[in-house]
């Protein structure tokens, strides 16, 4: 009897999830597995793939542009992820202040994060324009010196893109804000009784209480950094001097400009392994700093 009920429920359940199941097999699992095969071939889309063993992987190890792209991507991650975490929490704390007209402020902070990336790339190209851009205009206004070349300067191109990324922090900040509002008021009250000031309350109450959300954002940030593409494609095309050739951009170029599909698949696999490794590492280190309320650490 029971098993007939179970069987019926399973059938119904599978029927409901069948769109995802089919999509998972066709659009995720099959591509995922077949990219292993393609990474072992030389393939230009026109003539059939030719098996070449580990050649692509060997070439990748020797490719200075792969090294450059990995360096650029790690550079971006190392600066952007911590900065966006701190800045995101700061913005969230500001948006959590008890003042009138808060919805207007929240809107202003949030809007940049929904602007199409293509459009915001154009806007920042213009803001950062060395000659007529408003940023150098303001620098001249306040300091009476000409501003730098920003994205046209290999030393400043990556920091310029990081700055632009920090402008689009609204979405992250609102996720932090939602978690800030879940922190029980009683914790702040007892901290106050112990004589904690505002800064100490943030460090010793807020941060530990929202640490699971920080972990979530750090991991999403890692994955996002390896997918960083559109801004670099549009604003710099990887230049100057390959200083903004990010991993995803080089992968795209290999596949769709040079039509080295096999090589690009090998690059995709290296990317997957790096992200996977970093995610596992982040998780295993997280038990030291992430606090899950009500559970043992």
């Amino acid at each position: 009897m029971a098993s007939a009920v179970v069987r019926k429920r399973r059938l119904q359940g599978l029927l409901f999830i069948s769109p995802w199941l089919v999509g998972f097999l066709v659009f995720t699992l099959y591509p995922f597995v077949s990219s292993i095969y393609f990474s072992l071939t030389s393939y230009d889309v026109i003539s059939p793939p030719e098996y070449i063993g580990l050649e692509n992987y060997r070439n990748m190890m020797a490719d200075p542009l792969v090294r450059k792209a990995l360096y650029n991507t790690f550079y971006y991650a190392v600066f952007f992820i911590p900065l966006s975490t701190i800045w995101g929490i700061c913005v969230a704390l500001m948006l959590n202040l008890k003042v009138r007209g808060m919805t207007v402020y929240r809107t202003l902070f949030y809007i940049p994060s929904i602007v199409p990336i293509v459009a915001s790339s154009m806007v920042w190209l213009w803001l950062l324009n060395p000659q007529y851009g408003i940023i150098n205009g303001l620098i001249y206004l306040f300091f009476k010196v000409p501003g730098p070349g920003w994205i046209t300067d290999p030393r400043l191109s990556k920091p310029s893109l990081i700055l632009m990324g920090l402008w689009g922090i609204g979405q992250t900040a609102l996720i932090y804000l939602a978690s800030l509002q879940d922190v029980p008021e009683s914790l702040y009250e007892s901290a106050e009784l112990d004589g904690a000031n505002a800064f100490q309350k943030v460090i010793h109450v807020t941060i530990p209480m929202i640490s699971p959300v920080i972990l979530f954002n750090v991991i999403m940030g890692l994955i996002g950094t390896f997918q960083y593409f559109t801004q670099a494609y549009i604003m710099t095309g990887g230049g100057p001097a390959d200083s903004t050739l990010f991993y995803a951009l080089y992968l795209y170029n290999s596949a769709f400009r040079f039509f080295k599909m096999g090589y690009a698949s090998a690059m995709a696999w290296l990317m997957f392994l790096v992200i996977f490794g970093l995610t596992v590492l982040t998780f295993s280190l997280s038990s030291r700093w992430v606090y899950y309320g009500g559970q043992a650490r």
Partner: protein
Amino acid sequence: MVNRKVMGQIFSHLLLIFFSALFALPLFWLISTSLKPNSEIFIFPPRWIPSQPFWGHYRTAIEFIPFFRYLFNTLYICALSVVGSVVSCSLVAYGFSRIEWPERDALFMVLIATMMIPFAVTMIPLFIIFNRLRWINTFRPLIVPTYFAPAFYVFLLRQFFMTIPFELSDAARIDGASEFYIYRRIILPLAKPALAVVALFQFIGSWNDFLGPLIYLRSTEKYTLALGLQQFRSALLTEWGGLMAASTLVTLPIIVLFFFTQRTFIQGISLTGLKG
């Protein structure tokens, strides 16, 4: 005491005004530039507000990018993707939350895991599949996958479905209702706010997408607005006024949409928030 409170309020406002001005500045500068004649764009130090609004750049933008053609293409992709995501994700989320069956939670973990796979890993084989299907240079690669339940929206809807009291389903089952009936007549009407979140996010995702159209669309008459904007820039490098006008045209619909759907956005963010 009162004085201190007032001071605190003033300080908070000053802080918020300063930083929100900083956040608003780029968009202000975008619109201001788009409305200036070239004689006011290329001057140093820059001028904040055009002496009088100049609409010429908008004409350039609309004529150079076949704006209405691209707008139509974009809206077409957006509309069909929204339908696809809402229908397929709500069905799948129902199966993952409202029916109990043995392998359900294990499969749901698989779904969560797929969200961690970067698009770049599957991008090339997907391109090869769509190429074999002769779908390159059609809208299909951008639309069809949304009919197979994008994982993130399934996750959002499942979160919401779990909060609907299970007694409702049980009562209907006792009355002999089928699962599909319960899905259609009980859960969907109650889940309207969450369905609106999925519709909104998918719409914005399709509207803003750049890499997808860049890979799959070849001929210019198939372009979306995002590609058109890039096309404008590569052709007219130093036409900053026109470029800012075109960027404004691509951005404005999203901001207008945001103003009409703010509550849905807030709902969406709270659904994204992970609890515990």
